[in-house]
């Protein structure tokens, strides 16, 4: 077949741009970590890790807090999933959007909100102290990941044919027996998949552990940060990052596997809604309200405290520079928005091209891209930040002082979101639509323009929204980037404010957290709405 040179050139751009971006800003930094970790100093650091009781303790704590977080989240989330599964279309959509808000809140905002709760209810000291305990970390993890369980399991549950339960009851099984023998076995893949994801998120949790765990609680993530940023001991940090990388890759492999095992059940409209006990609904709604609502409400309340009453003093104070910050918090917010726009633009460009390769490329290429673009999602933000710190510090790629380093790091984290929303949309386009367009006279490039791009656009908007929200709240990777006034993002400013002892800056921190939370929440609610209408048919 004839292939005009312009087509070949275009195909080249489609493949090369994302490949180069990922190679330079992800593969190279990760390779640098590997080299450091397995190099001379790194090996001895790695050997030290194995023998040091402190590091063994860190590793053990990382694992068990993730495990307990997962069990607790399932315990709270599964009952709620049963309610969600039987809600009507609109109610389900609204609930889904509401429980998702905590999940997408910036970690620093959540950490700040829990600090606020501890302040407000006197849990910062005494017999019921939660501040700087493992309970603070576990609570925050449940707060975050509640949505993962409710959405994954609830959505799956809603698609199950309820006639099987009816049949079991008709055959003489009690309600409990039916749940145990009919419902649970069918839910198992969804539960396993949700549990794997919650474990992964808790395992790689960074901001929450750093703030809420206090100086004595350390996981692999915070330990990498301490060695790399506080002590500038790159060899030990690289050795830790290596351990982290291997663990996370294994976890991602397991999670992906479990997700694949989950058969697709989707029979919207055919599902009969069973009656739910009112007490059950009220119980779950109360749990959700207390668990998810309290930190958010207290955060807002704390931000409004002014002297002995309430007022906007804390918000006004955001415009003035305090000693702890290189610039006023308002500038940090502005920076964050600009960074988010730049990061989203990059993520959308790279992510869209890459999605086209994943969907339309030759098999090997498609696999490679699929893997290469999903890895940053699994790799923790801390690893990405650390990799960039040690890799991009020499000419010709000395980007440490460049303005672009922040949006590039954020784009890396956003790209998987774009790819993961775009690929299913592009894949779901019936190939016959393209054939029909071709038969009706559209050239191959015209087919892309007329079919793939307009249909993929909605997926793109959703992916871009996520990339934007993630960039706004990004803390892990950004915390590794050398600090300069023009680099100051809102989460970093929040970290500094929260980390300042005493009550002096607490109010300002709460106000900043509220601003960040509201911005992200608006973006996420807009995405949910778009997504909901997309599912309802075009």
């Amino acid at each position: 077949m004839r292939r005009p040179t312009s087509t070949i050139a275009a195909a080249g751009v489609v493949v090369l741009v994302p490949a180069a971006f990922i190679a330079v800003f992800f593969v190279f930094p990760v390779a640098s970590i590997l080299l450091r970790g397995l190099g001379g100093d790194g090996l001895s650091a790695l050997a030290d890790l194995a023998t040091s009781p402190r590091q063994r303790g860190v590793l053990w704590f990382t694992v068990w807090q993730a495990l307990v977080s997962t069990v607790l989240t399932l315990a709270v989330g599964l009952p709620a999933a049963s309610v969600m599964a039987r809600m009507g279309g609109r109610a389900q959509r609204v609930t889904r959007a509401l429980v998702t808000v905590p999940f997408v809140l910036p970690t620093l905002v959540v950490a700040g909100a829990f600090e606020g709760v501890f302040d407000r209810f006197g849990l910062d000291a005494g017999a019921f102290r939660l501040r700087h305990t493992v309970w603070a970390i576990l609570l925050a993890h449940v707060f975050f990941n509640y949505a993962v369980v409710v959405r994954t399991v609830g959505g799956y549950w809603a698609g199950l044919d309820r006639r099987l339960e009816d049949q079991a009851r008709m055959l003489g099984a009690s309600r409990r027996r039916t749940w145990w023998e009919v419902t649970l076995p069918r839910l198992r893949p969804a539960i396993a998949s949700a549990a794997a994801i919650v474990f992964l998120f808790s395992f790689t949790s960074f901001g929450v552990v750093l703030i809420l765990g206090g100086p004595r609680r350390a996981t692999l993530e915070t330990e990498i940060y301490r060695y790399a940023v506080t002590r500038s001991d790159f060899s030990t940090a690289a050795a830790l990052a290596l351990v982290q990388l291997v663990a996370v890759l294994a976890l991602v492999a397991v999670a992906t596997r479990l997700e694949r095992l989950r058969p697709i059940h989707n029979r919207p409209g055919r599902v009969r809604r069973g009656a739910l006990g009112a007490r059950w609904v009220i119980l779950n709604a109360s749990v959700a309200l207390v668990l998810l609502g309290t930190p958010i409400a207290v955060l807002v309340e704390r931000s409004l405290v002014a002297g002995d009453g309430y007022g906007l003093a804390n918000y006004r104070a955001l415009a003035t520079r305090v000693r702890q910050l290189p610039a006023p918090a308002t500038i940090a917010i502005w920076n964050s928005v600009v960074f988010a726009i730049a990061a989203t633009a990059m993520a959308v460009l790279v992510g869209t091209l890459a999605s086209l390769v994943v969907v339309h490329g030759r098999r090997g290429l498609s696999r490679l891209f699929d893997l290469g673009l999903t890895l940053p999602l699994g790799t923790s933000a801390v690893t990405i930040g650390f990799g960039i710190l040690i890799a991009l510090d020499e000419p010709p790629l000395d980007l440490r002082t460049s303005w672009w380093i922040v949006p590039i790091a954020h784009a890396l984290i956003g790209i998987p979101f774009v790819v993961r929303t775009m690929v299913p949309v592009l894949r779901s386009i019936d190939p016959r639509l393209r054939e029909a367009a071709a038969i009706l006279g559209a050239t191959p490039s015209r087919v892309r323009r007329e079919i793939d791009i307009p249909i993929g656009a909605r997926g793109l908007v959703v992916g871009a929204g996520f990339a934007f929200a993630v960039s706004l709240g990004e803390f892990g990777a950004t915390s590794f980037i050398p600090r300069r006034p023009e680099n100051l993002t809102a989460p970093i400013a929040l970290f500094r404010l929260l980390g300042t002892p005493g009550d002096l800056l607490r109010g300002q921190a709460m106000a900043l957290a509220v601003v960040l939370m509201v911005t992200v929440a608006i973006v996420v609610m807009a995405i949910e709405m778009l997504r909901g209408s997309a599912e309802g048919g075009l």
Partner: protein, 314 residues
């Protein structure tokens, strides 16, 4: 005029289309009849340019289509499940082909209105395709396929996804629409009644090859092989001393003086006549349409109309 010469398509070791040759004239409709998996859809896709071919030639008005992409062939294709563009309304779906041809907006609007009239959906232009019923979507798909004035229209099981009564109605309408549009068409189906109704000519395809081509009446009355006969709805294929014979279901009548003695197995009333299963004295089972009810288990005598008993070539 479409000419297909020795067209062959292979998928690995299997030959999906095995050196098929035929011609399609002016504005005639060829009904391509075959069981599912016989290669008829692959044949259509090859003609449309969606399926690379492994041998043979496809000529449209003596012009070889080798190397021409699907968008350059002037061939139309209508898919079984419509494949309407979900992000465009009815009018924009129909206007797609003319737009690709660079036809001006005013002329496109005119063409869309003309086609909506032709398929019996005037005023549907602004409707979203998601709101169409199965039959409406089918008509829009037909209008869209006809809009760029293809020289040959390929219809891949166009009525396959519709329910019986709607299908019957469209079977009645389709030939009229195609005639009005003045297009030659290949109508693929696995239903012999549909094939009889729409085809000016009938081609029976099994296992990748064309077995018999001709006017529907002639093919039905004189099937070339037992396989073709079975596929056309003949059930009584008898292996006699002088080779295979087909006894048409309308070949017998009850007659006391008839030469054929049978035992009645069952007799089922089906409206105007009786669907009757009998066993002849030499053990052959025959399914016949008779005018009167016979009592199962009894003996009866039948007269055979020898002009309705067909000797097969193999």
């Amino acid at each position: 005029m479409l000419t297909v010469e020795d067209l062959t398509v292979r998928f690995g070791a299997t030959t999906a289309v095995d050196s098929v040759s035929f011609e399609l004239m002016g504005d005639e409709t060829l009904a391509l009849l075959g069981p599912s998996g016989c290669g008829k859809s692959t044949l259509l896709r090859a003609i449309a340019g969606l399926q690379p071919i492994d041998g043979g030639r496809i000529l449209l008005d003596d012009h070889d289509l080798a190397g021409a992409g699907p968008h350059e062939r002037g061939v139309g294709l209508m898919f079984q499940d419509h494949a309407l563009f979900p992000h465009r309304n009815v009018a924009d779906n129909i206007a797609f082909g003319p737009r690709m041809q660079g036809i001006q907006p005013e002329a496109r609007i005119e063409r869309v209105a003309e086609l909506l009239d032709l398929v019996g959906l005037p005023g549907f232009g602004a409707r979203s395709v998601a709101t169409l019923s199965g039959g409406e979507a089918q008509r829009v798909a037909l209008a869209r396929a006809l809009a760029p004035r293809p020289r040959v229209l390929l219809l891949d099981e166009p009525l396959g996804s519709l329910d019986r009564s709607l299908r019957d109605r469209l079977v009645d309408e389709l030939p009229g629409v195609l005639r009005a549009a003045g297009t030659a068409a290949i109508h693929v189906t696995h239903d012999h009644e549909e094939a009889f109704a729409v085809g000016d000519r009938l081609a029976v395809m099994t296992k990748g090859a064309l077995r018999q081509t001709g006017e529907p009446e002639r093919v039905w009355a004189q099937p070339a092989t037992a396989e073709v006969a079975r596929f056309l709805g003949h059930t009584n294929i008898i292996d006699g001393t002088d080779g295979l014979r087909v006894v048409r279901s309308d070949a017998a009548a009850v007659d006391e003086a008839g030469e054929l003695a049978v035992i009645v197995i069952r007799s089922r009333f089906q409206g105007s006549d009786y669907d009757t299963l009998v066993r002849s004295s030499n053990g052959d089972e025959l399914r016949l349409t008779l005018q009167e009810r016979l009592v199962p288990g009894t003996e009866a005598r039948l007269r055979l109309d020898e002009t309705r008993v067909i000797a097969l070539r193999e």
